[in-house]
Amino acid sequence: MGRPATFNDLTEVLREQSEAIKQKLNVDRANMFIPTDGKGLRIHVSVPKGCPDGLPEHIEMRLNDGTDVDVTLEISKDFQPFKPR
């Protein structure tokens, strides 16, 4: 298990590996961001309503520099596509 991901790690993962996160969760649509509520570094992933229960709370991701990091996930089943306003 890699070290806990820092904020910079999470931003790199989101910027470059969001597809990989979706694949690990076996979803084809998701919105993701880093919540800023001070309740811990994690990636919030909104997935479609019909997704099965038991999605992982932690995944391991490899950064560009080869470091493995443990990413905490917070899953909500309330995916709604964003549309241009």
Binding site: F7, L10, T11, L14, R15, S18, E19, R29, N31, M32, F33, I34, P35, T36, D37, G38, K39, G40, L41, R42, H44, D78, Q80, P81, F82, K83, P84, R85
Partner: protein, 384 residues
């Protein structure tokens, strides 16, 4: 006359000028003969506010003295200089504005939303948060609207308006010099449609700017999912009859005071920086929110009927409306709004949303991309 002389005159003689019924003066105040705000004026006058401006014959018939005569009599001067006094109409008596108290059954008559400035109407003085459209290849068969987010200037004194690419850049399809009109075409009244039935007539009457450059949206292809950071475009303001003195102003008051630094977080991912934000947009007007997410990632569909115009966005600010809002933080037509923090610093450019959240391009990325696509490194936001 000088300000201090006008003030001295009003303080000494103001009561006498308004007290006499035959003067018909409701109020005297320091004003200026030319139209416009007092700010910046150097020549002032004593202004009388009357119910209605009357001819000499009408005044004689009603036993009313002209302000010219009243001023001379009260001050004991022969004849005031033309630039020394002014008369304006102000129908209706001045009354105190007590709290509104009515029998409950009459609430339907007096209650409801307060009348406010309408960001959808034509504005004589351009400002942030008003509706705009690029009507090319659309008007009059279709209408649309987005929001003018903020304005910029360069070292050569040129002025610009910024909104989204999908608003004034037609999602990459716009050519340079296409027209930008204000108000947006979706907000035209039926009379205005009749008066401006063609694109030419619309542009002749309502054009405020022309497209200068867009930050190209990079759509997803079977082979590639490029990252987008901003949905932005810029138009150069044209010389029209619109006033350009309020470009730092937000439609519902206040001015943009500066540019916010990028958000950072502490070890627990508690955000640093002012996260209470607001925006002014064409559709939902003034709304307040909180930045609740950073580094937002989502795929946005720019065409509901096809997958050819899906764009993947990274590094977005995520905003939730506060409970004090009547509705959402943003809605369709608010695209292009500038978003400010509670220090009145610009934090980003609004471009997308769903029922829960609004996505905003970070302002540092917007400015960097605009300077890049225009080739104008001195481009800067107009602030107050």
């Amino acid at each position: 006359m000088k300000f201090k002389d006008a003030l001295k005159t009003i303080r000494k003689y103001g009561l006498s000028l308004v007290a006499e019924k035959k003067h018909n003066v409701r109020l005297v105040a320091i004003g200026r003969k030319e139209t416009g705000a007092l700010a910046g004026a150097t020549d002032f006058c004593v202004t009388a506010y009357v119910e209605k401006k009357l001819t000499s014959k009408q005044m004689k018939a009603r036993g009313i003295e002209s302000f010219n005569a009243a001023y001379s009599a009260v001050l004991g001067v022969k004849k005031p200089a033309k630039t020394e006094i002014d008369v304006v109409e102000s129908p209706g008596a001045f009354r105190p504005r007590p709290g509104l108290r009515i029998p409950r059954p009459q609430r339907g008559v007096y209650g409801g939303n307060p009348p406010v400035l309408n960001a959808q109407k034509p504005f004589g003085a351009l400002r942030c948060g008003i509706g705009i459209t690029n009507p090319t290849n659309e008007y009059p068969n279709a209408v649309s609207v987005g929001t003018a987010g903020f304005y910029m200037e360069d070292d050569n004194g040129n002025l610009y308006v910024v909104s989204n690419n999908h608003v004034i850049g037609r999602a990459n399809d716009a050519a340079q010099n296409e027209s930008i009109v204000q108000p947006g075409t979706l907000d035209l009244t039926s009379t205005e449609f009749q008066l401006m039935p063609t694109l030419n007539s619309l542009v002749t009457n309502l054009e405020i700017a022309s497209v200068l450059a867009v930050v190209p949206l990079q759509f997803i292809t079977p082979a590639n999912t490029p990252n987008n950071r901003v949905d932005a475009a810029i138009g150069q303001l044209l010389e029209t009859d619109r006033t350009l003195d309020d470009l730092d102003r937000l439609t519902f008051g206040g001015t943009i005071r500066g540019i916010a630094a990028r958000y950072t977080v502490d070890a627990n991912a508690a955000i640093r920086g002012s996260t209470r934000v607001y925006k002014v947009g064409r559709t939902t007007g003034y709304t307040e929110g909180n930045v609740t997410g950073l580094a937002g990632v989502s795929t946005i569909s720019y065409d509901d009927n096809s997958n050819d115009k899906d764009a993947h966005f990274v590094d977005q600010l995520v905003i939730e409306a506060t409970d004090d809002n009547v509705g959402p933080f943003s809605d369709r037509g608010d695209s292009g709004s500038g978003v400010e923090n509670d220090q009145h610093e610009l934090i980003g450019l609004l471009f997308a949303g769903n029922d829960f959240h609004t996505l905003v391009n970070p302002i540092a990325d917007v400015l960097s991309e605009l300077r890049n696509v225009t080739g104008i490194p001195s481009l800067r936001v107009i602030t107050g």
